[in-house]
Structure formats: C-alpha cells, structure tokens
C-alpha cells in the first residue's frame, strides 16, 4: 500500500454562515482539500443527530457540523439550540466509542472563507492521520454478508 488514504468527510452546514463562508473561500480562490462533501441546510437548528449517523453508515471517516457563531444566527437562536444538542450528542458518541476526533463542530461565518479553507485542510489532515473509521464501516460490511451459519 503506497497510496495514501484519502478520508471521506461529510459536512452539514447552515446556508447563511458556513455555506456562505465556503462560497467566499471559493470566490477568493483559496485552495483546500477536496475530501469534504457539503450538505446544505437552512440552519444548524435543522441538523439532526441522525444525519451524523447516516454519514457514518455511508462510510464517512469524519463528519463536520458547522454554522453561524453564537449571536449571529440568521434565525436568532437556531445555533444555540444546535450547540446544546451537539454537546449532548457528542458526549454520547464519545461514550459509545466514536472518537471525538472524527466528529467536528465549528462556527464559521460568511466572512470566514479563510477559516473555512484552513479548517477543511486541518480536519482532512487529522482524519487522514487517524485512518479510515474501520470500526464503524465494519458494521456496514457485516450486514452486507450472509451470516456464517
């Protein structure tokens, strides 16, 4: 195996801040790793924990959830609600052995194109270093095969 492992990362972002920040990174022609697939949502308040589990089922090695900074939410409070949910869900995932390093959360505003680009690069590097999330992906593989007896 000489080929380096390229992680698959799914990002769930709000359209008003992080998605716009990503657009800004684009219009500013910043360069970043191509590993992230974005799912655009109106607000972080819309991001349900099930999204994260489904991304993992689809073989994501990492997940990013990102939205507006506290106080900046287009919908006034959506990100405050989201923050509580993340706090709780994140601790639950960690407790069940889904490494915290693979599930990332960030605030990226529409003006933070540079932060977006840097974050994508650093997360990609970090998850690349962690390697594939084989433990979870194994669960999916198991269901694709017939039982052994």
């Amino acid at each position: 195996m000489t080929e380096t492992f390229e992680p698959k990362i799914v990002a769930f972002v709000c359209t008003y801040c992080t998605y716009a920040g990503a657009d800004l990174a684009g219009t500013s022609r910043m360069k970043y790793a191509s590993n992230v697939r974005m799912v655009r949502l109106p607000c972080t308040g819309r991001i349900s924990p099930m999204f994260i589990l489904k991304a993992l089922q689809k073989g994501a090695d990492g997940v990013l959830v990102s939205g507006c900074h506290p106080g900046d939410c287009h919908f006034a409070q959506g990100n405050y609600h989201a923050r509580r949910r993340w706090t709780v869900f994140r601790s639950l995932l960690a407790f069940t052995g889904i490494p915290e390093e693979r599930i990332k959360f960030s605030w990226i505003s529409a003006a933070e194109g540079a932060k977006f680009a840097e974050l994508i690069n650093s997360i990609t590097d970090e998850i690349r270093a962690l390697g594939p999330f084989e433990q979870y992906q194994e669960l999916q593989k198991v269901i694709e095969t017939q039982s052994t007896y």
Partner: protein
C-alpha cells in the same frame, strides 16, 4: 417516476478548467432517474436558460439540477427559468461545483470526482422535492404602536402620513413619554417641550391616528398581518368625548399634596389631574387611590365644578380587541433606582438627585419654573457635583452596559447650570466621556471650555453631609490623588433600565428580551428594528438605551418596515416552512418551546361531534421562518420542513 434533467455549466473556464464536465455528464447520465443531461458554456445566459426550459418541456422533466455556481448566486435565476417552463420552481437544486469545487481544488481528477458526487447527491435530493407554492397571508393594513413617547409618536405619524391607520396606545394619561419631562435637549439645547408638543398634537389630530391613552395592551394574538390585540382602556372617570380641558376640576380638587410622578416628586399634583400642563389629550384623570370621593363617597367637588358634566364616577375599564397587521413596540425605559449605592447617599440626602430630577429643576415648566433650587431648602446651589456612570457599566451593583446618554446629558446639565447660575461651579466625576454623535463631542468640549465644567476622571468613593454641605470624596485618577469636593447638590447620572414590567410584557406579546429586559431585535446588525416575531417591530429605548435622535431614527425605520409590509394586500412568503403530522404528534410541546418565532401553536383535534381527541402542535406558516429547529427537536419526527425535508436530506446523504 422521476425524470431529472442535469445541466452542467462550464462557467466559461471557471468550472471547465478544473472539472471534467464531459465526464460529469457521462457519469450523471447513467444515474437512475436522470432523463436528460447536457453541458454548456454559460447556463445562466439567455440561450443557456432557453436550453434548460426547452429540455424541461421536451422531456417532461420532473426536476432539475444545475451543476454550476452557488445557489446563493443563481438559484433565483434558474427557479424562474423552471417556472417559465411550467415546472414548479422548487423542483430545482443547484450543485455548487464552482465556489465549492472548481475554484478551490487543484487536482482535476479529485475535483471531477467531487463534482460527480455533489451532483448525484442533489439528483437524489431533487427527486424528493415537492411542488411548493408561495404562502400568501392577508394583511390587515392597520398598525398599532405601543408606547406614546417620542419614538412611538414618530412611528405613528410616519405610518399615518403614508396613509395607513394607526392605533397609538399609551398607558399614561398623556402621550409624550420621558421626552416631555426633559428641559433642553443636547446637542442643540432646544427646548424639549417646544419640539415635542407639536408632534404630540399632530399625532392626536391626525385623521389616521387613533390615540388611546391610559390604556394597556393585555394580549397579542395572531401573527404577521393578522394580529388581534386586546387593549384595556382604564377608567379615567372623566368623559373623553365632552371634556374641554378647562382645568376647573383640577383647580378645585381639595387633595393637592400628591407627589407628582411627572415632576419626579419635586412637585405636587391633585387627585384629579393631568400629568403636565401640555398633556395630550388635555383630559384629566382621577387617581382613584387618592380621590376622597372614591375613599368615602364624599367630596365630588370636581363633579359639581364641571360645567359640562364630564365627571363620571361610574366609568369602568373598557376592553376592546383591535385587529392590526403590524405592531411597533416603543415602550421606552425607566431610570434606575440608585439607592443601592450607599456611598452616593441617594434617598438619604435630599440634595442627591438623579439626572431626571435635574431636568425638572431646569425645565421652565417644572416645579421651580426653571430655577435651579436644591430640594432640601430651595436654595440655589453654589457647587454641584455630577457623578457619571451612577449605575451603568458596573457589573457588581448596577448594570453592565453603558446607558449611552449620560455623558451627554451630564454635559448638558453642567451647561444649563452654568447658564442659570452664573457663579456656580460644577464638578463632574466621570470614567470616560463617550460623545460619539453628530455635534456631540463639540458639545462636551463646549461644556468644558465655555461653561467651565470641571471634569474629574475618577470614581466617587464616599459622600456624606457635614455642616450643611455634601462632601464628595473620590479620586482623580489622572492626578493619582484623592479629591474632596464640598457640594450643595449632587446629580447622579443614573442608568437607563427597561420598564419594570418589560419581561412580562414581552412574554405577553411574544417577543424576546435580554437578561435586563430590553427587547431583542431579530438581528443586532441586519435586522435591528424587527423582532424575531414577524410583524412586530421595535423603536426607541425599549430595545436598548438610546437618545432622542436614535429613537426617532429607529421609529422611522420601524415605520418603513411596517409600510413595506402594508404595501401589498397579501404578504407573499417563501414556502420553506414547517408542517406537523397530526397523526403522529404526541403533543409534548418541545417544538413550541424551541421555536425562536413563537410560530407553533397547540391545536385541538376533535371528532365529528366536537369531542376533543387530542392536542397537537400546529405551525403557523405566517410566522414560521423555516429554520427547522423544531424538526430536529421532534423525537417522533412529526415535523418536517418544506424544501429541506427529512426524506430529501436522507436521500442526499445516502446518495453521497
């Protein structure tokens, strides 16, 4: 069966140089459900859009994915194109392969792979898009302005002058608010009454404005364009319709020693009274708690005095329900009670007063007819000490925020004092001088340079009385030395705080408030006059401490918002709103609590005979802003958000 059209845009070279668009088209054309795919240099151009439209018509497409730039760029363009081709505009998704792909990646193979994945996922999403129709809400084109201070008056006049009806509700017997208590205004020193009174009269005489004084808003029901407001008009015991405001009753009223609220208790009023001489409407009210007739059934001198029989002791509070389409909240502020500062001696020493007291002393129509006389003995003070930030910017005892107006009014007070007491000496203890505003810094400079206000940078640590003098002890931090000033009067620049019932009021009408009770705007920077409840706007110091120019500007801004809303009979809204599944909702009301817009109500489900079966949540599409916070709260997945449904997101993720 879905028939999706995929249109891959080159955006000149912007996309095509980094994404192999041919490969993308080939890959996507093999995807289940894709009935048509093509690539073109600029799909956003007229011929490009024509291609899309033709493809929709010729292939009977049920959905469209344009793989091009950000939806924030051209979503509207292509929605319009879809609509023109007879496809519901919400059956469109934009795959962002420019801003989030071709522009940010450097490896053509990687970028192409990513573009294919992005596009596929959105094909999966668009397959589950639904036809959506814009929501149209009828608008009652009448506004209510709550609070008849300068902000409320301004908003009411602006709306009314533009031709819309306004109901202006004020809980005091007269409109005018705090501005009517003020003597002169900074930075021009024009007389407050002189500039305000004409506006008060204009408001009350405006054919489109109905002024309801001595009235309280009790309940707000409904939603943008369709509010029903319950207003209780308190009994005045004086007939509004007939009273001419002659004032005979006031003259004759034997109960004369009631400390006047308007005069900050520096003067007295009678039991039947108007708060001040220029009150609008100029119709007195009877203070039931002080009136002898109401106490023991005797007296009734006012009734006997009144030549047109306008006194009516039988009057009762009247409640009415008023339909309005928009509400401007302009309920103003109060000054903080400063007695918690033991070191300032407020409440202990009569001659320690607040800035508002000083306004009354300086006011030509005030209890001293504009002469500066100290409350204890009516003597003209030779030395006055002003203490700034007496409550503001003090997290431990007062409030954390800056009250914004105190630097200016203290400078004004020093000036007025210098103008009225020529030999007087003023000393101002301050932390910083915040004089940002048109003509403001010049104004404070004038106070220092022309009117010889002595500014001492430092805090006051102690204040006590000695030999008839108030000894003010503090520190001059610029000199690094303690200072002691013998004063005849001390004026505290008290903090502006929300009305004492602000939080309860906010809950009653359904808007947000901060830790202090100032009402929350929808967005501090971009939506500063809107609340998070659509159709309710803010003006003046109920939102945060403000001076008169700011209050008036915000009032006009709020009026503009209201007029914008009233510009059409129907309000058209994006159909990205939540809906509840009645059959599965368990009625836990978590969504009701979580909704930032109070857009979710409790709805009763009854059988044919009207018997209650259950209660479920129900989203008011007029209020819902489409954030989806409720959707991800709902444990039973009983709420969904149009445009971003659970099925759509699921398909998008599973299509990655």
């Amino acid at each position: 069966m879905a028939k999706i059209g995929v249109f891959v845009c080159h955006c000149g070279e912007n996309i095509a140089s980094m994404v192999d668009t041919g490969k993308l088209v080939t890959a996507i054309s093999g995807h289940p459900g894709v009935a048509f795919s093509s690539e073109y240099k600029y799909f956003c151009s007229d011929p490009g859009q024509e291609t899309v439209k033709r493809a929709i018509r010729e292939n009977n497409l049920t959905g469209v994915v344009v793989a091009a730039c950000s939806p924030r760029m051209h979503e509207q363009t292509f929605r319009k194109a879809c609509a023109e081709a007879g496809l519901n505009p919400y059956m469109l998704e934009l795959a962002n392969i420019r801003e989030q792909c071709s522009w940010v990646h450097t490896d053509r193979i990687e970028a192409t792979d990513k573009a294919i994945e992005i596009t596929r996922a959105l094909v999966e999403k668009v397959k589950r898009n639904n036809d959506l129709q814009p929501i149209s809400v009828p608008v009652t084109r009448r506004a209510m302005v709550i609070g008849g201070g300068v902000a409320g008056i301004q908003a009411a006049i602006d709306i009314a002058t533009a031709g819309r009806e306004v109901v202006l509700v004020e809980r005091e017997p007269s409109i005018g608010g705090h501005m009517s208590q003020i003597s002169e205004t900074f930075p021009t020193l024009d007389c407050s009454q002189c500039i305000l009174t004409p506006r008060m009269v204009e408001a009350v005489q405006h054919p489109n404005i109905r002024v309801m004084t001595y009235a309280e808003v009790e309940e707000v029901d409904g939603f943008i364009g369709n509010f029903t407001v319950k207003v209780r008009s308190k009994a005045r015991y004086v007939k509004m319709e007939t009273c001419t405001g002659c004032g005979d009753c006031i003259q004759k009223c034997p109960v004369k020693k009631i400390p006047s609220e308007f005069e900050c208790e520096l003067g007295n009023r009678t039991a039947i009274y108007t708060p001040f001489a220029q009150a609008v409407p100029n119709v007195p009210v009877i203070d039931r708690s002080r009136c002898t007739y109401f106490k023991n059934g005797k007296c009734a001198i006012c009734k006997k005095t009144c030549q047109i029989d306008s006194i009516d002791f039988e009057q009762e509070d009247k409640t009415e329900y008023i339909e309005v389409g928009a509400i401007v909240v302009a309920t103003g502020f109060q000054v903080q009670n400063t007695s918690m500062y033991g070191e300032y001696g407020y409440g202990r020493y009569k001659d320690v007063i607040t800035g508002l007291h000083f306004e009354r002393l300086a006011s030509a129509s005030g209890p001293t007819a504009g002469k500066i006389k100290r409350p204890s003995d009516g003597k003209e003070p030779e030395t006055v000490v002003f203490i700034q930030c007496a409550g503001s910017r003090d997290a431990s005892k007062g409030v954390k925020y800056c009250s914004k107006i105190c630097c200016m009014y203290t400078a004004k007070h020093a000036m007025l004092y210098a103008h009225k007491v020529h030999h007087g000496k003023s000393q101002i203890f301050y932390m910083d001088i915040r004089a940002a505003g048109k003509g403001y810094d010049e104004f404070t400079r004038r106070a220092i340079e022309e009117d010889e206000a002595g500014y001492i940078r430092g805090r006051v640590s102690k204040l006590y009385e000695e030999n008839g003098k108030l000894i003010v002890r503090g520190v001059d931090t610029l000199l690094g030395k303690p200072v002691e000033v013998e004063a005849d009067m001390v004026v505290l620049a008290t903090a502006m705080v929300p009305q004492p019932d602000a939080k309860e009021f906010a809950q009653r009408i359904g808007i947000g408030y901060d830790e202090y009770g100032f009402f929350n705007e929808a967005h501090l920077k971009l939506r500063p006059v809107e609340t998070s409840t659509a159709g309710i706007y803010l003006a003046g110091a109920c939102q945060s401490p403000k001076d008169i120019p700011d209050s008036v500007s915000q009032a006009s801004a709020a009026a503009a918002k209201v007029l914008g809303l009233f510009s059409k009979e129907q309000l058209e809204r994006e159909p990205v709103v939540a809906t509840v599944s009645d059959s599965t909702c368990a009625g836990c009301w978590g969504c009701v609590i979580a909704c930032p817009y109070n857009a979710i109500d409790r709805k009763e489900i009854t059988d044919r005979n009207g018997n209650l079966i259950k209660r479920v949540a129900s989203v008011n599409p007029g209020l819902c802003q489409g954030c989806g916070t409720c959707v991800s709260f709902c444990r039973s997945n009983s709420i969904d958000l149009a445009g971003f449904t659970e099925s759509q997101i699921f398909a998008e993720v599973m299509g990655l």
